[in-house]
Symmetry: C3
Subunit: 282 residues, 3 copies
C-alpha cells in the first residue's frame, strides 16, 4: 500500500486550497501449490478525503501459472489495466487532463454501491514483451440485463520492442451502459541509455463523454539525479469545453523510499489546478 | 483466511449459473503471559458475493490455559462448533441438504445488524479425546428480553475413541427466539489404516424449521491418491418438501496448497445444484 | 493493538451488569528514506460493544525527522495527546470522573459521521524532557465555516524534570464549536527510586460542559510486586451534579503480557460504577 499527503489547489472551487490525504492498504493472501501454481486473493482497505470512514473494497481471487493469470470477483479490467493509459499524469496526486473521460469498470476501491451483484472475470497473459488482457463484467449476475444495460467486455494489449512501447485497448458497453464503447491507442519512445522519453495517446471517450476524442503528447526528462520533469499537452473536442487545449507540468524528486512531487495544470475550463506533497510506499 | 472461486449452478433460479467468490481474512492478535496463559482477539474481514463492500465482523476476546478456552463477544457457539454437524457437506462451496435448517447464533461474519447490543460468552474444555462446550448469547445485554425473546444457551460434546467419533449438541432459544430448541447427535466411523469413513447425523431443527427432523447418512472414500469422493443421502420431514429425500455427491482433488472440488446435489425441492471451483488457504 | 474483556457494573441503568469487550487493531504502514526520514500512515480497525460491525477509522499520514513529527488527516490533537490528561484513570476500562468533560477533536476511531470533510494537521516536537504539540482541525475543509462553527486550534506541552512531570494544554473552538475553549494543567511527582507517585490536575471544561472546572488529586502505589493500587478524588462544579465530589480506587496486577484490573468509583450522580477484567497488548 501507500500513503500520500499534499496541498491541492483548484482555481474556482469554494475552498481553492485543500489538503489531500490517502492511505491505502492492499490486504493480500496467497499460496503456492506443489506444482508451482500461485493462488491469491485481495481486499483493499483505503481512506480517502471526503469519506467518514475507511472503505473495505469487494475482493477478488486469482490463479497464476506460466504467464497466465485468471481472476474473478472485483477484478482489474482490461481497459483500465492497459499500459500508457495514465502515463501522461503529473504531480503527487497523479492527474492529467489527457486521461480518459469515459466510464468503464475497474477494480472498485469504494465498493459496488447499488450494483452489489456485480461480477467480473479477467484474464491476462504475458510472454516476452507482449501482454494481452480480456475482461468481462456483469453489472448484476443474478438477473437479466434491464433495458439500456449490458455486460462490459474489454480487451487490451501492450507490446515492448527495443525503445518502443505500444498499447491499445477497447471496451464495449463500458460500466455496463449499452453502446458505451471506448478505444485507446498509445505509444512511448524511450531515448537509448536514459529514462527520458516521449509519448502520444489517442482516446475515443465514448458516449458518456459526448463521444469526444482526446489526443495527448507527453514526455519525461531527468534534469538532475533523482529529479524528473514531466509535461503534457492535451487536446479534447467535447462541446462544453471553454478551450480544447489543456496542459500540465510536473516535477518529482526521489527521496529514496518516498517521493516529493508537485505539478501545475491548466484545464479545459481554463482553470488552474496544482498540487505539491509527499508519497511513500510500504 | 482463505479464498475461493467457483461456478455455482442452481436449477430454477433466474440466472441458474453464477460465479461464487469469497475472500476471508481472519485478523488475529494474541500474546502469551509469563505463566503460559494465551490471550487473543479476532476480527474477520470478508467479502462475499452480493455485498457492496467487504464486511468487518464484530470481535471477540479469548483466554486459553490448560485445555480451557473462555471467549467473550462475537463468540463461536457450542451448537455451531460441535464436531460432525457439517460433516456431510460436499463440493467447493461446502453445502449439504443434510445440514441443520434451524436458526441459532454462531460467530457473526456480516455483523449483528439491528442486534447491535448482542453479547456472547463461551467456554470450551478439551482433555484427551473429549471436548465439551458451553455458550450463552444475550440478544441485547443492555435491556430486558422483549416478549418472545430469550437468551440462547447451548451445550455440545465431542468424543473420539479409536475409530469412532461421537458428537452431540443442544441449543435452547436458538437465535434468541423463545422455545426454539434444537438437538443434534452424530457418529462417524473411520476404517482402520485409511481416511475412508461413514457417518450418520440426526437433527431436530426446532420450530423455526417446522420442527422437522433430518437424518443424513454420508461417507468419504479416497479413490486415488489426493482424490476423495464424498456422498450423502438425507431425509427431512418438513411439510413443504416436494420430496423428503435429498442426496449429493462430491469430489475433491488436493493440489497441495489448494483444492479443486465439485459436487452435484438434488434437494427437497427436486432441483439440482452443482458447483466446481478452487479453494486455497493462506 | 489490544484486546480487553471486563464485567462492567453501573448502578441505575437498565441492565446494571454488562460485559464490555473491545478489540483494537492499528494497521500501520511505514518506510524510511535513505536520509533517515520516517514516513508512515495509520488506519484503525476496532470493535466496540454496541456496534453492529467493527469500524474502520479515517486515516492519517505522518513524517518524522529529528524529533519533529508532522501529521495530516485524522490526526491526534494537541489537547487530547497532552501527558497526564487521563492519568487519574482507574480499572480495566480506564475511566475517571476526574477526566475532561469538554468536547474537542481527537483521533477518530468510529469515523467522522456527517463531518466527512474534516481535515486535521498536527505537529509534535520532542527534545530532552520537553514535548510540544500544535494541532489544527477544520470541521469542513471544502466549505467556509457556518455560523457557530470554527476551526479548532490546540496547543500542549509536557516537561519532565527529575521527579516532576508538568503538562499544560489549551484548545480554542473545541470540536469546531465557536468559543468552546478549554484549558488543562497537570503535575505529577514520582517518589525517588519507586514507581509510586501523586498527581494533581486542573481542567476548565468549556461551555459545552457548563463552563465547569474539575480538580482531581490522584496517586499510584505499588503494594506488592506487579500489583499497583491507584485512587483519585475529583471535584467538579457543574450545576446538575448531585454531588460535586467523586472518587475511585483501582487495582492492577501485571500478568507479564496481560493485566488483570478492577475498580470501584462513585460519580457526581452518587451512583457506583465498577469493572473487573483482563487486557492484553499485541
Amino acid at each position: 500500500g501507500y500513503g500520500r499527503a499534499a496541498i491541492d489547489y483548484q482555481e474556482g472551487r469554494t475552498e481553492e486550497a485543500q489538503i489531500d490525504t490517502r492511505v491505502r492498504f492492499n490486504i493480500d493472501g496467497s499460496t503456492t501449490t506443489d506444482q508451482g501454481v500461485d493462488f491469491g486473493a485481495r481486499v483493499r482497505l483505503q481512506y480517502d478525503d471526503g469519506n467518514s470512514n475507511s472503505t473495505t473494497s469487494p475482493g477478488y481471487v486469482y490463479v497464476t501459472s506460466g504467464g497466465l493469470t485468471v481472476s474473478m470477483g472485483n477484478v482489474g479490467t482490461a481497459f483500465d489495466s492497459v499500459g500508457l493509459l495514465y502515463e501522461s499524469e503529473v504531480g503527487l496526486i497523479s492527474r492529467s487532463y489527457g486521461n480518459t473521460q469515459g466510464s468503464f469498470y475497474a477494480f472498485s476501491t469504494g465498493g459496488y454501491g447499488v450494483e452489489n451483484d456485480r461480477m467480473g472475470v479477467a484474464a491476462e497473459y504475458s510472454v516476452g514483451g507482449f501482454t494481452g488482457r480480456l475482461s468481462y463484467v456483469d453489472p448484476d449476475q443474478t438477473a437479466g440485463s434491464p433495458i439500456g444495460s449490458s455486460e462490459e467486455v474489454g480487451i487490451s494489449i501492450d507490446y515492448e520492442w527495443n525503445q518502443i512501447q505500444l498499447s491499445a485497448a477497447a471496451v464495449q458497453n463500458g460500466a455496463g451502459i449499452d453502446n458505451n464503447d471506448q478505444y485507446f491507442v498509445g505509444a512511448y519512445y524511450t531515448m537509448p541509455g536514459t529514462s527520458n522519453g516521449i509519448g502520444l495517446n489517442w482516446l475515443d471517450n465514448g458516449p458518456t463523454a459526448f463521444d469526444s476524442q482526446t489526443v495527448v503528447l507527453y514526455g519525461d526528462y531527468e534534469v538532475a539525479p533523482m529529479t524528473t520533469l514531466s509535461a503534457y499537452i492535451a487536446n479534447n473536442d467535447a462541446p462544453g469545453n471553454a478551450t480544447d487545449n489543456a496542459f500540465g507540468i510536473g516535477a518529482k524528486y526521489d527521496l529514496g523510499g518516498a517521493i516529493l512531487a508537485g505539478s501545475i495544470e491548466r484545464g479545459y475550463n481554463e482553470n488552474i489546478r496544482s498540487d505539491m506533497g509527499i508519497k511513500f510506499n510500504f
